[in-house]
Every structure is written in C-alpha cells, then in structure tokens.
C-alpha cells in the first residue's frame, strides 16, 4: 500500500515535471516575432475608418504587390504593444491618444517608428444633434450648458446632465473638463462604440436631445448630422497635465506607425505603406459604402481601388 502511494506520488510529480519541461525547450528564443516574409500584418481598431484604411491597403498589397495580408482586430493602446513585439507590422491610423506608449516605444525603446501622416485630420469634441442646435442655438457655446442641463438629464446621470461617452479605449479628458469648468454634468460611459452609436441612433429617431463625446470623420455624421459645442479656446500647454485640462480638443493629423524592423527591411510593402496617404473625403466615401450602404468591407475597398487608379498609383513603390 505504501509503495502504491509513493508511486502515485511519483506519477503526479512526473506529470508536474512534464508540464514544466514541455513548455521550456532549451535555447534562446527570438524576442521579436517576424512572420513569413511575404505576409504583412495590419491591426484594425474598433472604428470603421481604421477598417477602411486597412481594407484598401490590403486590396492593393494582395492584388497588385502579391503579399498576403493578415488583419487583426485590436484596440489602439494594444496596437503599440503589438508593433513593439513585431506581431503587427504597421498601424494605419493613430489618433495620438496614448502618449505614454508612444513615448516608451518610439523614444525610449526605439522599436516603433513614425511612418508619416495618413492625410486624414481627426477632431474630437462635444457634440449635440443638429436638430437640437437649431431649436436652441445657444447650446453652441459651452457657457450656456448649465442652463440647458434639464434637456440632457437621464436616470443614469441623476440631477446632472448626461455627457454620453464611448468606449474606454478612446482618448478623453471630459471628466476633467467638466470638473475644471464646473459644469453640472456627469459622464456616462456607453462602454463601446457600438453601444454609443446605437444610443445616438435611438435618440435621433425620436428627435430627443443628447450631448455626446464625438468625432469627425465618423460615418454616422452623414446619417445623424451633429453640431459641435464650442469649448474654451486652446492655449499652449492647456492639455499638458491631464487633471488640469480645461480647453477644447485639438485637430489631430492622424499618423501611421510601424515596427522598426518592418520599416527598415519590409521591402515594397513597407515602402507602399509609408506612401499611403489619402484625404478625409476619400476615407469617408469608403466608410459610407461599408456602413450606410452595408457593403462588405473588402468589396467597398475593391470598388475604391477600381475607381481611383490615379490616386493609388502614386503610392506604389519605385
């Protein structure tokens, strides 16, 4: 009986050992993953504009340059981690929303490089639906927000006005702005872009007022027209310290980033992606096909590529 117990213990220990040993083969691992040479990995953020960039780049890389493109769904901050390790090669649209990561990887570790501007200008702000702004033109100035709070009250925000927020991954200083400007408002997080879009559409269908964190370019803007609430003018350094922000959001030139190894040794694919540059209108066009016309993403991208050879020919590597 005792022997049995020893042997049973032995088997258990052997199983434990096998677990540990199986996982660690000897030798040194390569810290930077580089997939097969003809595959380009492009991450897609949760918003449709980002999907459009990648879809068009994918069409051209696959159909004209003979690469295989692997797309990955992930959030903006995680993208920097992916670029750092080489699991993703290039990020097509960054809203400069994660300065900490940017500093760490681009400046300190130098594993990620800036690959030029996308050509699209993004702007974040506080928006109300245009039908409400027409009825109450005074809403366009932030100073009148306290007077108008009764229109924006919901059960979630209690006796304050509701400021609808989107996904936690978006860059926002709204809570700080509300505090620093002493506004009787409360941020309520939808939790995801999908939920925010749904909420906006629902309220717009009933012509109800709402105040939301919103941005351009955004596909929904052509379906539900929005008007911006002017926040205090930007002064130099007004958004330097996150807890002291009390001014409007900037206009951001959306930027591309690349894994350094890919940028240097990525051949034609890297060269093409560095040259990739299109306007807000072009991007919005593709996004509209994808969303409002409910076209498949790849179809919409193919349609754009077919219609605009003069534009993408300029991006081709020499």
């Amino acid at each position: 009986m005792k022997r049995t117990r020893i042997i049973r213990g032995g088997v258990a220990a052997a199983a434990a050992l096998a677990l540990a040993a199986g996982l660690s083969s000897c030798g040194k691992a390569d810290p930077y993953y580089s997939g097969s040479p003809n595959t380009v990995t492009l991450p897609i953020a949760a918003w449709a504009g980002s999907e459009a960039n990648v879809a068009v780049a994918k069409q051209i890389l696959e159909k004209k340059l003979g690469y295989r493109v692997k797309t990955l769904q992930m959030d903006e901050p995680v993208m920097f981690d992916a670029l750092n390790t080489g699991r993703a090669d290039a990020m097509m649209e960054d809203w400069r929303g994660v300065p900490k990561k940017e500093k760490k990887y681009v400046e300190e570790l130098k594993t990620v490089v800036n690959a030029g501007e996308l050509g699209v200008t993004g702007h974040i702000g506080w928006y109300v639906p245009t039908y409400f702004a027409k009825e109450h033109p005074e809403v366009k100035d932030w100073k009148n927000l306290p007077k108008l709070k009764k229109y924006f009250q919901t059960p979630e925000s209690g006796d304050k006005g509701q400021m609808l927020e989107g996904s936690p991954s978006f860059s926002t200083y709204d809570a700080q702005i509300i505090k620093n400007l002493d506004l009787p408002y409360k941020t309520v997080y939808a939790g995801s872009e999908a939920a925010q879009v749904k909420e906006i559409q629902k309220r717009a269908a009933k012509k109800e007022p709402f105040l939301t964190y919103w941005w351009t370019p955004q596909w929904l803007n052509s379906k539900v027209p929005m008007t911006e609430v002017k926040l205090p003018k930007r002064t130099p350094g007004c958004d330097k310290v996150p807890s002291k922000v009390d001014c409007a959001y900037p206009y951001t030139a959306l930027t591309k980033f690349m894994n350094r190894d890919f940028a240097e040794n990525g051949g034609k694919a890297a060269e093409f992606l560095k040259k990739f540059h299109w306007s807000t209108e072009e991007q919005t066009k593709v996004v509209k096909w994808m969303t409002i016309d409910k076209m498949d993403t790849d179809e919409a991208a193919a349609k754009w590529v077919e219609q605009n050879p003069d534009k993408w020919k300029k991006w081709m590597p020499n």
Partner: protein, 686 residues
Amino acid sequence: MSTTTLPQPSEDKEKEKATAAAPATTEVSGARALLARPALAAFGLVLVALIVGALALDGNWPGALNWSSGIKDGLDWLSNWLTDNRATSPLFLYFLLHISNWSEGGVDYVFTFLNNLGWLGVTALATAVSWYVSGAGLKVRSLRIALLTLCTFGVFGVLGVWEYAMSTLALMVVAVAVSAVIGVLLGLIAGLSETGNRILRPVFDTMQVMPAFAYLLPLVLIFGIGSPAALVSTVIYAAPPMARLTALGLRGADPAALEASRSLGSDPWQRLWTARLPLARKEMLLGLNQTIMMALSMVVMASVIGAGGLGDKVYQALSKDNVGLALIPGSCIVLIAIWLDRVTAAAGDQLDTSPGSTRTGGDAGAIALEKLGGWLAWGVFVVFAAVGTLFGPIGERSWPIDWTVSISSPLTKGIESFTKSISDGIPVIGGTDVWASHFTSWILNPMRDAMQASPWWGVLLLVAVLAWMAGSWRAGLTGVLSLAVLGALGLWDKSMDTLSQVIVSVLCTLVVGVVIGILAARSRWVMRLIRPILDIMQTMPQFVYLVPVVALVGVGRPAAILAAAVYALPAVIRITTQGLRTVDPAAMEASRSLGSTGWQQLRQVQLPLARPSLMLACNQGVVLVLAMVVIGGLVGGGALGYDVVYGLQKSDLGVGLSAGIAIVCLGLMLDRLTQSAGTGKRGGTK
C-alpha cells in the same frame, strides 16, 4: 466570461452536482428548521446594530485599510518591467518567449495546412473524421453526424466567412490539444495524489471564476498580442474541466477492477495504464467535450486581443451597428459548437459499445464496413494532406465567391424593426425603453445608493451572519475576507454598485427561469420547443446580443442587467427542469392518489423535493451573471465591469487587474453564500 455554460455537457455536470446535493433532501423542512434557530435572533440584532451604527458611526471604508495606491503602483511597476525587459530578461528568452513563438508558429502551421487543403479538402476531411469517430458504418447516427458536418462547412462557405472560420478552427485545434494535454497532466496530479488535489482545487476554482478580461491584459504584456495570448488565456479557461473530470474518473475507478488487476500481479504503473486510465475514459471524454465548448467561447472572446477569426467579424460588425452582419459569424460559431458537441458526445457513447464485445451477431457487412471505416478516414486524411502539400489546394483555397449569398441586410432590417416596435411602439404600457428608465429610477438607483451608504462593517457583519445561518462558519469567513479585499483595493463603492446590479439580475433570472423551468418540466411540448433556443442562447457569443439589448433598453445599467439575465437564463431553466423531473415518482403518485390538484402537487411535493436543484440553479445563476459583469461594462453597466474593459483597452494593468480581482472576490462571496445554503450544513467546502 462564463464558467459552465454549454448545452449538453453542462447538463451532465448539473446532473452530477444535483445528485451530489441530493442527500440534503432529507432535510426538507430546512427552511422551517432555520427559523427555529437562534441565528435568526442574531440576524435581527445585526439589523438593529446596522441601523444604529449607520446613524452614529462613519460608514466609509477606513483610509488606513485602503491599500489601493500601493497595489496600483506595484502593478504599474510590473507592467513597465515586463515591457522593458521583454527582449533581455532570461525569464523571457529561455521560457516565456518560447511559448509565445511556439504557439504563434503552431497556429500558423495549422492554418496554412487547412488553407492548403482547400475548401473541398477540409470539408471532406472533417466529414470523414466526424463520421469515423461517431461510429462509422451505415448507422443512422454516424450518417446524421456526417451530414451535420457537411452542412456546417457548407454554411461557412455560403455565408462567406470561410477564411475566418478556418482561422478560428486553426486556433481551436491548437488550443484544445494543449488544454487537453495540460488538463490530463493536472488531472493525473489531482487524481493520484491527495496533496495535489488539495493544492489544485482552489487553483481550478480561481481559473474558472476569474473574468477572462482581467487576465487577458497581463497575458498580452507577457506573451504578445494575437495567437499566443489568446492561446494561453484559452488554456487557462478551458483546461480545468478536463483536469477535474480526469481526476474524478481516476478517483472513481471501480475498486473491484483495481483489486482484480492487483491480484493478477500488475505493478502500479501497469495498473494506471491498464486499469485506472481506461476506466476513467468516459469521464475524460466528457471533460474533453466541456473543454472544447469552453475553448470555443474563449477563442471568440479573444478577438479583442487580436486572435482573429469569426470573433473579429462579430466585433467589427457591431462597431458598424450592423446586427445582421454580426449574426452571421455568430451563427457559424453556434454551428461549430453544435457540431463539435454532437461529435464528441457520439464518440463518448461509442466507448460503451465499440469494443465489439457487446455486439455478437449483426450483419458481417456492417462490421466489415466499420473496420474499413477507420482506414478510410485515415486514408482520406493522408491523401488530402499529401495532395494539399504537393500540388496546392484541390479546387480553390477558399469557398468560391459566386456561391455565397448575402443575407445580412434583411436580417438587420428585421431585427431593427422588431426591437424598435417593442422598445417604444406599444401604446398605453410604453415599451421596454420606458420601463427601463422607471426601473433605473425606482429600483436600481435607490438600491445602489442604499448599499453604498451602508457602513462597511455592517455589510461585513450581514454577510457573515447570513452565511452562518445558511451554512457554515467557513463560508462566512470566506465571504468576510473577500469583502475585506474589496475595501483594501479601494473599490468598495464600485463593488457595491456592481453587487446591486448582480443581485437584481440574479433575482430577475431566477423568477423568469424558475417559471419557465416549471412549465418545461410539466409539459414535454414546452421543453421540446425551448430546447433549441436554450442551446443557441448558451453558445451564441455574448457580443452578439449587446446591440439588440441596447436597442431595447438604451445604454445604462438595465442593458447590462438584461444581457446578464439572458446569458444566465438557460442554465437556470435547465437545472430547474431537471430537478423537478427527477422528483421521486412514488411521491408524485402518492400525492396524486390523495387527490391533490396539479398546483397543489407542484407546491407541496415537487418544489420542496426539488429544493437542492433550485438552490443549485440559484448558485449557477449567480456565477453566470457575475461572468457577464464585464460584458455589461461594454453597454453602460459601469462600475467594476467598466474598469476591467478600461484596463484592457488602455493597457492599464493597475485598474484592470484590481477590478478583475474584485469581481473574483464578489464571486467567491456570493458562491459560498448560495452554495452553503444549497447543501445545508456541509457548505463552504465544495
């Protein structure tokens, strides 16, 4: 995420749990006995103390016991260290990065393999293998399963998601293989050694209760985005059932068989290989089935960290507010789940009959065909593999585009008009939207405010007394300690907010679930009608119903509560039905002969006798609702769920992980409370 969720297998597990709890039935009048106990007096005293204390003392969590800043600093430091030392530390170079590179390579390899087979090859191969493992031959069952496989793969193609489905399958193949191997090894440890079992049991509990979102982030930092982190998180989530059931099988081996083996002079090694493991294979196969189901749901969830595949499709469709488009990959996932579940279940039943011993006569042709079947399946495999690697795919790599149909936009329109009409289209009584806002103002807000305003020591005391009354002092201790951790993390208020949502959600689920469960238990017709619906509800990725939920009740806590209730409902219904059905027929007959009506029978015989299952339903409801707290964060649930999502999306380990731990603590507390109530005195120890 979920803990035990899936259609068939969970039912088996539920049965198992229900029978385990059965001895407590003897204590039918437990509730009444409880009233006679002095504990009630204690309960009353606590209530009085609470009220007095709330008026006299400071109810906020004491600052001295709030260690949140220290914990957060530590986690932030850890997160920085991980990113800084990834390329230099030997821990990474000689260990972690191997896992990471190996898993990326493995998944890529399987994907390339499937891709090289081409769509025809993959479909033929899958059909042949399913047919073989479900018994081969010309039996109705194996043919039906072969047909199901064929249809499943056909649907991938027709709906235009072939490539995404292949990438999900590739990740699944690797994840299930690794989970099964690790599960069996851990199961060996827990099954053969008593110490091993004691050490591993709480580890398994934590692995299953911890919301997956909380550990996705550290895994991304360690293993990198994409397949590696997805694979590791899937293994963490899916290996425990395999390990648990393997251990259960090893322990439950028939002593007579072992004795026989011993008397034949076999040494312990031989006994393990020839007696113990073979005797445990039925449990092990059930474990594999559960592991597959859980791996599937995790693989979908992992799309948020770049796992790719069908989950990506769901996620992207949602951000474009296109429910129809999200439903397509969603239903493909359901199909995969049904297919894999049926195949493993058939393979399990096959174990009972297959060795040929039970079947004596039979027609020789069928037996020959069966023997041939094995060779045929392997032959098909080898031929396709060879052709695939040598000459490239047969036919095209993926499904021909001309053969796809687009059904998403009519689907979207249908769902949109439906949700719109019940959200505010109903005259007089308003519609779901109006109800939701009343619900928030009149139930949720007061409840949350009351819970947040209650003094912390009062809540601790209340939980301790409740647990003690219901079960054991040990359950009370666990509950109190878990709550103390919430305070120490500095998340007291948020936890109370989440707790209020969880309680409301569990109550709603229980009321609706038990009513439907009673109906289903009393009428076979109802059961047959709801069964496929329950299957779908349990396997559909939770992301899919977020958008319709928001359309119905708008962004906010009601949406989170509704989503959680929808998710937990199937398990509650199943357990209730199961419990009512298994009530002793003699007792039923006796009451019928005494002339009681259907209603009396239900109230006086069935429900009291089914009490253990009802308590189990309550326990499972709590666990499942809690698993949805994070998903609720995506539709405005706020509090802890939002923090976990925030941590993941902003890569903020401090916020994300502490909120994750807080959810685990709430889970532990509620689980112990409900569990000990279910098993009477023996609570606290699982």
